[in-house]
Assembly symmetry: C2
Homo-oligomer: 244 residues x 2
C-alpha cells in the first residue's frame, strides 16, 4: 500500500477515537453531573475534564500529526508549520481555560489547590507545553532564528512533543480516577467499588483516551509517514515562503 | 562527543533516577506504612507499589535500553538479546508478583478488585507486557521464526515496547494518587489536601518516576545510539550465534 493509502488506514481510526474521547467526556459531565456553566459552581468544574481532554489530548494529538499526512508533502511546509502552530496554540488556550475552570471553582468553594499528584503532573504538563510552544515559535518560525539553533532544537522539540503527550495521558488517567473516587464515594448513590454505570462509562472513556494516545504514537513511529526533508527547508521558515 | 561518551552522559542520570525511584517507593511504604510482609495484611499490600515500580518501570526501562549502549555494538547481538529478554522476564515476574500482592491483600480483607480506572489500565499494561514478551520470544529468539514474520514484527515490537512504558507511567501516577487519597484521608492524621510530609514525599516520587520515563524516552529517540544493523543479523538469532 502507498504511504498515502496506509496513512489514511491509520488516521481514520485516530480521528474517530479523538472525536469519541471528546464526545465521551462531554456526555459524562453533562449526563451525570448536570452540564456546564461558568459561575464558580460544580458546573464550572465540569469544563475542566472536557477542556483538558479537548486541548491536551485530542487537539494536541491531531496537531502533532499534521506533518505525517502524505498529501501535505507536496505543499509548502510553511503552510503546515502554521497549521501545526495554530492548532497547538488553540490546544494550549483550551488547556489554560481548563485550568482556570478548576481554580475558579476551587476558589469559590474554598477547596485547596495543587496538593494531589494529579495536579502536580497536570500543571507540569501545561507549563512544559507552553515552554515548548514558545521554543518552537522562536526556533522554527521566527526569521531571526539561527540555523545552528534550529538544527539543535529539532530533536529536543520532537522528544518534548512526545513527552507532553505522555504526561497528558498520565494526567488524564489520574484525574478521571481521582474524580470518580471523589464523586461516587461522596454521593448517596452506589460507590465506585460497586462499579455503577457511570464508573463503567468513565473507566471506558479512560481506556479510549489510552487507545487514542497509543494510535498517535503508532503513527508517529512509522517511518513511511515521515515528511521527506529537502535542503532548502533547513532555513527558518519565515525566510522560506516559497519552499515546496 | 562520541556516541559512547554521550551515551554515558545520558545513561548515568537514567540509572541513578531508576535507583532513586526504587529507593523512594521502598522508603515510602517502609517509613509511613510499617514495611513488608506476605500475610494478606496491609503489609502485604505494601509490596504492590514497590514491585510494580521495580518491574514495570525501573527494570523495564533499563531493559529497553540495552541495545542503545555503544559498548555492546561490537559484541554478539545474541548475548544482548538474551540480556534484554532475561531482564524483561524478571520485570514481568516482579509485576505479576506485585499484582498477586494486591489481589491477596484484597481477598483477605474482603476489598473488591478491578473497579478503578487505575486497576483497568494497570492490568491492561501487564497483559500487554506478557503478550509482547511472548511475541518477542517467538519472533526474535526461536530458530523456527520466519524472516517475513521477524521483519514485520520489529516495528510493532518497538511501538508496543514504548506503549507499555507509557501505560506503566499512567498506572503508577494514578496508583500513587489513589493510594494517597485512600490512606491520608482515611487516617486520623493530616488529610492529603493539607500536604503533610508523606504527601510531599510521594508526590515527588511520582515526579521522579515521570523524569525517569522521560529520560528513557529521550535515550530511545536519539538516533546516534541506535545499534548499527548488519545484514547477517536479520536472521532469527538462535541460528546466528556467531554474529558479531
Amino acid at each position: 500500500m502507498s504511504p498515502s493509502g496506509s496513512f489514511w488506514v491509520g488516521s481514520v481510526p485516530c480521528l474517530s477515537l479523538g472525536l469519541l474521547c471528546l464526545l465521551g467526556v462531554s456526555f459524562w459531565r453533562a449526563h451525570w453531573h448536570r452540564g456546564f456553566s461558568w459561575d464558580g459552581s460544580a458546573l464550572q468544574f465540569n469544563w475542566h475534564p472536557v477542556l483538558m481532554v479537548a486541548g491536551l489530548v485530542v487537539l494536541y494529538g491531531y496537531a502533532v500529526l499534521v506533518f505525517r499526512a502524505p498529501f501535505t508533502w507536496r505543499q509548502k511546509k510553511l503552510t503546515w508549520k502554521l497549521v501545526h502552530a495554530g492548532l497547538l496554540l488553540l490546544a494550549l488556550l483550551l488547556s489554560v481555560l481548563g485550568l482556570c475552570a478548576v481554580f475558579d471553582n476551587h476558589r469559590s468553594l474554598n477547596i485547596p489547590n495543587m496538593y494531589s499528584l494529579h495536579s502536580w503532573v497536570g500543571l507540569c504538563t501545561v507549563i512544559m507545553f507552553a515552554f515548548q510552544w514558545l521554543l518552537g515559535l522562536s526556533g522554527f518560525l521566527l526569521p531571526c532564528s539561527p540555523l545552528w539553533f534550529r538544527s539543535n532544537l529539532k530533536p529536543v522539540h520532537i522528544w518534548m512533543g512526545k513527552a507532553i503527550l505522555i504526561l497528558s495521558l498520565a494526567s488524564c488517567i489520574s484525574g478521571i480516577n481521582e474524580l470518580l473516587f471523589f464523586t461516587l464515594n461522596g454521593s448517596s448513590g452506589d460507590p465506585y467499588n460497586s462499579l455503577p454505570v457511570e464508573a463503567k462509562f468513565a473507566n471506558s472513556l479512560g481506556l479510549l483516551i489510552v487507545a487514542f494516545v497509543l494510535v498517535v504514537f503508532g503513527i508517529l513511529s512509522n517511518d513511511n509517514w515521515q515528511r521527506p526533508e529537502t535542503v532548502h527547508e533547513s532555513v527558518p521558515l519565515m525566510l522560506n515562503e516559497n519552499s515546496t
